[in-house]
Symmetry: C2
Subunit: 341 residues, 2 copies
Amino acid sequence: MKIAEIAPPWFAVPPVRYGGIEWVVALLADGLADRGHDTTLFASGGSITKAKLISVFEDPPGGAHIGEAFYDVTHASRAYRDADSFDLIHDHSGIIGPAIGAHVRTPVVHTLHGPFTDEAKKIYTTLSGQIWYVAISEAQRAFCPDLSYAGTVHNGIDLSRYPFRDEKEDFLLFLGRINREKGPELAVDVAHRTGRKLVMAVKMAEQFEQDYWREVVEPRLDGSEEIIGEITVDEKADLLARAAAVLFPIQWPEPFGLVMTEAMASGTPVISFANGAAPEVIKDGETGFLVGSLDEMCAAVERTGTIKAEACRAHVEAHFSADAMVEGYLKAFDRVLSRSV
Amino acid sequence: MKIAEIAPPWFAVPPVRYGGIEWVVALLADGLADRGHDTTLFASGGSITKAKLISVFEDPPGGAHIGEAFYDVTHASRAYRDADSFDLIHDHSGIIGPAIGAHVRTPVVHTLHGPFTDEAKKIYTTLSGQIWYVAISEAQRAFCPDLSYAGTVHNGIDLSRYPFRDEKEDFLLFLGRINREKGPELAVDVAHRTGRKLVMAVKMAEQFEQDYWREVVEPRLDGSEEIIGEITVDEKADLLARAAAVLFPIQWPEPFGLVMTEAMASGTPVISFANGAAPEVIKDGETGFLVGSLDEMCAAVERTGTIKAEACRAHVEAHFSADAMVEGYLKAFDRVLSRSV
């Protein structure tokens, strides 16, 4: 198959730092090329891939320019100019790429990487029937079920980046951005009530995140916690591998939640509110726990010893590896090309 | 002919306040409908037109949202969804509309309403050959001559909005935004050196415009000037009609310069630096003067009595009326449809 993968233009793929979408694109482009598909990756300069790379921007514009139409339009227009030379185009860029893709003859598949805001619903509904969508979880898809879906494909991760470790240390881990949706203050409460040490590796790039930390999280701290700022990929993998459990007190229906798969890949159970994609990602009682309240989360902490590290790793290998994701997309592509959706 | 006119989504057309592009679109849609063409106008709610109106946004988003891709994508996607039902699509929206239009079967004409920034050049070059361009002046076109042009069509105005007046008062008029490119401080200098009263109707919406006024213009004022803030369309027409001459000390190659045609329509000569489109708009010595220096501008002020108000009006009627513009576009459309460009 001749396949085009269109990354967002902002960062190189794979990303040097944070970048969930960029990792998905990088793994997919490599995985498709590995399987013998003639794969072209449209991504900014500095990208490393087994696919043929075409870059409009030699220097990735960077996060500060996200939202400026010039970059999306130029990048996507270059990619779609070649539309006729592909059997299928898989677009991960924002909303401008899909809007252009709606008018090419080649089938276009767009992965819905973000949540369904009112604006996203309006745009994707407008383009429905003209392009195919892939949801990254059934939970996400349920928020806008009537689009022209090619399927649901969970995000996969590069397992080699998350070394497996059977022996755990005694701390609980919270890892992520600091805002109401992520529930960091609930992780603090759970640690205090269960008498466990909490390590928090936090990201606070935005002012409102810093405000949330100062106003909501910091007043709850009692000095027993270890607070770490932004960390490297290796530091993150090390923390995940050593933790007794990862707390994921998610307060909104997050479309996926990559950190859950990263934790389980390291052999570490995840304790999450049964929100968003969590029930699709965690096998309750086998790779972690799905809870409905703070009391239940505390009770789950006491039961983490019953979770087998091997079961966590095996679950990710089977369902959230790069291979599983590539196979999932190939099935979705087949459905589109055979019009059996 | 079945023609679609796509306005930018931000304001209703015609605009209640400022909005050069919106006036062009409004006059064109009416003019095409008047000539019996089956015309559809894609524009936000509140628009008044003789064409069939299709609005994605019942309430125009307004200027504060300009640049947010959501609005352009939703608006343009709705318009291009119907692409096959038109003989020709004429797109005035920013860069997202044309990028989509590059992939529809129906010929798309895009009017270049702005200057050729580096970004604009890159995008329009990328899309060249996939859509047709109309420049609004030869001066503008010269900055990027190798695009797939359907022609050059000067902007037209609704002459009925600019009452003709033969008897002038003694003041010089400067009308416009306050920034280096518009040269407002030069208008002050010319008035002082020629001993004439200056009326300035100024627009300072942005901080940098207010800074420019305070730092560059204000220190030059000697109290003889009359300074007016933003004015209504009627107030503007009245000022233009009464002025002895309009000073247009333009310091950059502005692609058009609507105020020149508005002044001449009122029977008022324009004295402009020979920059940008000014040499195409002003008939030197007949409807105003083209100058190359401050000295020349002062000298021209002394000669305004030699300009006939009727000649100014007649020049606009012949070349910059709504009718002239509609005929210009129809010729460009014919060239596209007969592939004779």
